[in-house]
């Protein structure tokens, strides 16, 4: 992305997790700038079907483009479905600094075998003290994309970005 408007759009923070921008989150799929017509076509994809942030993101894109003299056309695309594997290393590091554990590799297909009876099924290190002794408190956290965990060493609760 060389153009200034594309750069500005890519730096727009996610409204719900503002430490990460929409490019690093992997939801900004395409930015096509027409320098001649001063238009920019932007394609974004939701993290979850019902993600309430999509409209806020779209209007912010229109706003950022407009202040630089471009008319933005924002399109939402569902397919291919967003995966946390699209999150950049910079984005992951930013999440961790903020106290949110970045997602592990997205699961391929479905877990097989018997239904596990405990919530904690993978090892997640505490973002504060680094202990691997953590447990899941809740399957669903403060936003659709996160689960809530607690560190058994330092006893602090923390968010985990769910791998999907």
């Amino acid at each position: 992305m060389e153009s200034a408007v594309a750069e500005a759009i890519s730096r727009i923070p996610d409204p719900e997790v503002p430490v990460i921008n929409i490019a690093d989150l992997g939801i900004l799929r395409a930015v096509d700038v027409d320098e001649h017509a001063h238009t920019v076509a932007v394609t974004i994809t939701p993290t979850y079907s019902g993600c309430p942030a999509m409209e806020a993101i779209a209007s912010r894109i229109v706003f950022e483009a407009d202040r630089m003299g471009y008319a933005a056309d924002v399109r939402t695309q569902l397919s291919p479905a967003w995966t946390t594997d699209w999150m950049s290393d910079e984005g992951r590091a930013a999440l961790l600094r903020f106290g949110i554990v970045p997602p592990g590799p997205a699961p391929v297909g479905e877990p097989q075998g018997p239904v596990p009876v405990t919530l904690s099924r993978h090892v997640v290190a505490c973002p504060r003290c680094g202990s691997a002794d953590t447990t899941e408190i809740a399957h669903f956290g403060s936003t659709a994309c996160k689960a809530l965990r607690r560190c058994n060493a330092c006893l602090e609760p923390f968010d985990e970005f769910k791998a999907i």
């Binding site: 079907s49 397919s79 596990p116």
Partner: protein, 297 residues
Amino acid sequence: MSAPMSSSDTGTTPVTEPVTDPATSASESAEREPLPGAAENTGAAPGAKPYAAYLLGLADDAMVYAQRLGEWMTNAPQIEEDMALGNVALDLLGQARGLYPYIGSIDGTGRGEDDYAMQRDEREWRNVHLVEQERGDFADEMARLLWFSAYQVELHTALTGSSDDVVAGVAGKALKEVRYHLDHASLWVVRLGDGTDESHRRMQAALERVLPHLAELFDDDEASVLAADLGAGVLPSTLHDPVVARVARVVEQGTLTLPDGSRWRSRGGRAGIHSRPMGSLLAEMQHIARSHPGATW
């Protein structure tokens, strides 16, 4: 494998009449493929209306269940479950929103998501009775969520292969979400079933109470047969065995028993015939939008 329900009912397909004439636009969303058998946005071509009716059934199931699940906010046994069920509801709402504008482009009415959600009367809704039933206790909700999410996992797995790119796109997105819903319901059913005597008894009772409302999910009607023939939809009856197998595994793990058969079964949802709780659900969901037509934020 016990099969607690039959799938032999054939309902009639209600076709929602256009409220406004020629469609203006599909929606602002995404690449939308021309629909099978439909002329572009100028009234409905042959086959388009039953196909739209099929998709409306899928969207309405998600929309109505989203509304029911939303009722748990502030009412669940613990705040984490308020969040969990609210999140599940949000996913379902998003799935419905992904379909409504597209359906409006197919059925020739050009209606948008708010028109479908807020402006339709009871007889125009095509959801199954399962999702409109009042919420009972928490075990009742986990029994319903277990069945419905198991159904949705099988449904969306099949629909990812749809010949209709929009439907395949919505399904591909939804599949990741409904697997998580199924996981969540499974954990609770196992915990309650294999918990105390009291929780076991109530979870077992819930499995029995939900039973009469399941068969409808697997009924083939005119609309679903057409959608399946187009390669765009899936025949509901083909989902029955895999769904039962999924649920049975969880039930067994929870030391519970899958009830066998039911003395009665609900029917008619896909034809717009609903049960008593549907009226009050719609009244609550729609009254602001209908009291202030055209109001915007």
